[in-house]
Amino acid sequence: MTKTPDTHIEQLNVLRERYVRDLPDKARVVEEAVDALELRWDRDGLDTLHHLAHRLAGSAAIYGFAAVSEAASSLELLVNAALESAAPPAPSDMLAPLRERTTALVRAAVDEQLRSLRPSRKGRSPTAQSEN
């Protein structure tokens, strides 16, 4: 297998550091989508939440933040089940698990950001798995 050139690793690390800097904000956008659902429970709101969780699950995995990706995937699955259910679940049944998973997502994002601020990260593979 061909070794990845150091310049490529460096370029990816720059993107990775930029991504993790914004990661808590991205998770909070997901949290705001849950806030909006609490005020107005409708299919459009669930679609928006599903889309945001799907995006974050995908991009976090590509940038190597496995814990964030898993938390976002867990939320995505829950919302997807609600969207595909023949009998849509009542908001009162959904909001607590949505909150729980979104809180876990925000916590994972903040943890990754804090971890990235610690020294001795040089040389880490951009696609490395999370240290969790």
């Binding site: 490529h8 370029q11 991504y19 590509i62 990706s69």
Partner: protein, 129 residues
Amino acid sequence: MERTLERILLVEDDPDIQIVASLALSQFGGFTVQVSGSAGEALRAAPAFAPDLILLDVMMPGMDGPSTLQALREIPAVTATPVIFMTAKILPQEVAQYRELGSLGVIAKPFDPTTLAERVRELWREHHD
């Protein structure tokens, strides 16, 4: 004449994935890349850019990947341009469906940015050999 792979139209709605995929394909792979963030953007960009290959995300808001491909096929400049889908959900029946739509193959998400360009080349070679 055998067509070479130089120009890739990347259709992906997530800006974070656009950036890393674009870097992987252009800087690491040496391709000329144009990024479209939606089906609409891709339909507008395709005629002038005239890509050799379209790399198309499956799950996009609005028009999804397969619907985008059907719309692209109506544009003379890209009516026969090879397509590779990118998706997080690789189910065998979906891969078969994408092949029926004329795609060269499917790249799984999450992809590894360090090998994305090579994976694209592999699928291209499999199709052209």
